[in-house]
Assembly symmetry: C2
């Protein structure tokens, strides 16, 4: 399902020489004996999740599609990035949709908030507010504005039928508010952190509402759970990728640049950046995650990758079969001199751009390239791929002797901001 190709990675060491360390860490992950092991609920989630709640997600997704023209997904960080990655990957951004998804509660920008409130004034809306504690300020602030708007527009009872809260099972501020108002609620598990939550109701409700098959998505997670439950580096591609990152870091790289060749994968890169950056950016360690979309950004960032400071390696996600394709037509007179491409498919051209770039960066530019290949973009593959990345990062970050599952640094700006805002409780 997911292939890792290291033949362009310029490794000075054999990945297999890490087998004993990998075996030790594999046991740590599965025996829950490593740092932060209260948060490895994702490891076997595909076999343990609440089927009754999953059925409710499917029901509510249908209800949202019936109720609304616009679904406001109100959350920040892990509470929206996974859903947005999946929805951007698997839906067409152009043209009128039965249900438009707008991501809110992820910024303090007054301009963004005012514009969205203005835009939804005459729309039929539903809202999925996603916050474990209910105290994340960006999300809580936007949700107050949306809730007041919806209660004024629909009255309190109908507004409550259109608001869905994904939150802690019992603690925090959002759960009691939801209970008091009578919202349908979904649970964010205690042992799965935000950046792993795309496979929980956090991601699944918006993804299902967008019309994506979450049964297939969870089948992908389940199959990956099975396939990557081995410490054997000759078969576990996730661990191979996890080890490779550390080898390249030892070779002097401090930046990992995630590359895709499809615009609909831009938010998969954003999701990946949180997953890896937030998991390993601690104790002055870790690879800085960055991203580009080729060939678009070959005309902006390409020069730097080709000839600039040698501080980075590229991790390229390659999709074998595109969602759409067409044959390039002939043109009379050939004034643009492109008739040599007549009869070729556009995706074939994109493939040649990938191959030409790989050669340029690896051989001429001396930049290591790790290739991650998937067959196609669909819900099953998405589920499989996210689990591949989860397992890869657990291995990779434990190799740094860092807790992959906390994010203590995120609190620092919040403490300062609360002091400046005059928050007293």
């Amino acid at each position: 399902m997911v292939k890792v190709d290291l033949s362009h990675a310029k490794l000075n060491e054999d990945v297999l020489s890490y087998q004993s360390e990998v075996s030790r860490i594999h046991r740590m992950i599965h025996d829950k004996t490593g740092k932060g092991s209260d948060y490895v609920g994702w490891v076997d989630w595909a076999n343990t999740y609440d089927k009754e709640e999953f059925a409710r997600i499917l029901d509510c997704a249908k209800r949202i599609q019936d109720q609304a023209e616009v679904l406001l997904v109100c959350g920040i960080g892990g509470s929206y990035l996974g859903a947005r990655a999946a929805i951007d990957m698997m839906t067409n951004p152009y043209g009128k949709k039965d249900l438009e998804i707008i991501y809110v509660g992820n910024t303090f920008s007054s301009t963004a908030v005012v514009r969205i409130l203005d835009y939804i004034k005459d729309k039929e809306v539903a809202c999925n507010v996603i916050s474990k504690s209910g105290t994340t300020t960006e999300t809580a602030l936007a949700f107050r504005l949306i809730r007041q708007f919806m209660e004024e527009k629909y009255g309190e009872t109908e507004a409550a039928r259109r608001i869905y809260a994904t939150t802690d099972a019992k603690n925090g501020l959002l759960k009691p508010l939801a209970d008091k108002k009578g919202y349908e609620t979904f649970v964010i598990p205690d042992d799965i952190g935000g950046r792993f939550s795309v496979i929980t109701p956090v991601g699944l409700l918006p993804i299902a509402a967008a019309g994506i098959d979450i049964n297939a998505l969870m089948d992908g997670v389940k199959d990956a759970t099975h396939d990557y439950n081995t410490d054997d580096l000759t078969t576990n591609a996730a661990y191979v990728y996890g080890v490779t990152r550390r080898i390249l870091e030892k070779q002097g790289k401090s930046v990992e640049m995630f590359v895709s060749y499809e615009p609909h994968l831009v938010f998969l890169a954003e999701w990946w950046k949180q997953l890896f950056g937030e998991s390993e950016g601690k104790e002055d360690k870790g690879l800085l995650p960055a991203s580009v979309n080729f060939s678009t950004d070959l005309h902006s960032m390409g020069q730097f990758v080709q000839e600039g400071t040698k501080n980075l390696f590229e991790t390229v996600i390659r999709v074998v079969n595109p969602i759409e394709d067409m044959v390039f037509p002939s043109d009379e007179g050939d004034l643009d001199q492109l008739n040599y491409l007549e009869g070729k498919s556009l995706n074939w051209v994109n493939e040649k751009a990938f191959e030409g770039t790989l050669e340029a960066h690896e051989i001429t530019g001396n930049v290591p390239n790790v290739i991650i290949e998937i067959e196609k973009v669909d819900a099953y593959t998405f589920g499989y791929l996210v689990y591949f990345f989860f397992k890869a990062l657990a291995m990779s970050v434990y190799m740094l002797d860092v807790n992959p599952f906390d994010q203590p640094g995120v609190e620092v700006y919040k403490r300062n901001m609360f002091r400046l805002l005059g928050k007293t409780k």
Copy 2:
């Protein structure tokens, strides 16, 4: 107009100690004696540009608005990033627009191309194709498809009235094609490279079509041209920023992270990344440009900036006055415990996020922060700001003893790709 605040930049050296080097390079830029000085047409462009052509741009922008529901801006790299940065900054992304702008010709993704062709089928369209040589494959390929679509839809005569070509004055493939077909054409000057071309017809036609005041934009460029025509580091903020980047590099940083607090500045960051990355990423040198949008990305990349590898500094663009603002309302019962913000403006909250983050990153995280402050987001400020960045980068890159104005590395992937595509001429 543009203030640079170094009080959080943690510099070990005094910027003013670079005065003699700055004076020497300032003369190089203005006397056209530095590397690549055939490409410094932007330096005095605000005083030399063709006023008759500018008037035609205004006319054509109006004509496009009358003709079309959708303007297809067909270009890649510098041929679309500047326009997109300006248009994203100054227009509201939500709701139906009189003229929708779609950026095409910047990818080989078959999925993206097919979806756009399908979307525009029933729309009234116009196209601005932007390519100096006419041989940039992404753009030429998309333009053939769009041209054929438009000729079929409108007939050749009416299609020609809806297609505008911005290209070389006489050389290349696009100019003869445009002349033969009878397109209105605009000139890409020989002495201004793609990443500086937002102040030429390349940027100005789409920006004007989007309803933005390009007279004000050029006024901003002109005033900046005057204000930054001095080598005095006590008054030239552009040079101060240019020098600061090099000092931080000497202090061990290899990544410059561009930070904004407004979602509508995301593409300003993309434009900035091309400008700096493509100008200095040569001879194994240069700062890798990266970008984040806060507070959104504090919940994804924030952890890494706060506590990860210390390979980066932040350059924060701060907008004093937002485009839109509102007062945060009270709520009965205060179930979300946000009543302490009652009566505050949302932008005030965003300001506190900025201040709290600055303190967190600078003091707790030990990450240098360079602050670039602008009063507001409008056409005049945009023009002023882009010239600020032009002048800053010329200084900064000449300090590396690198030609800031070529991009030899971009050709490598193209050569490989053409070989793989079987192109023979």
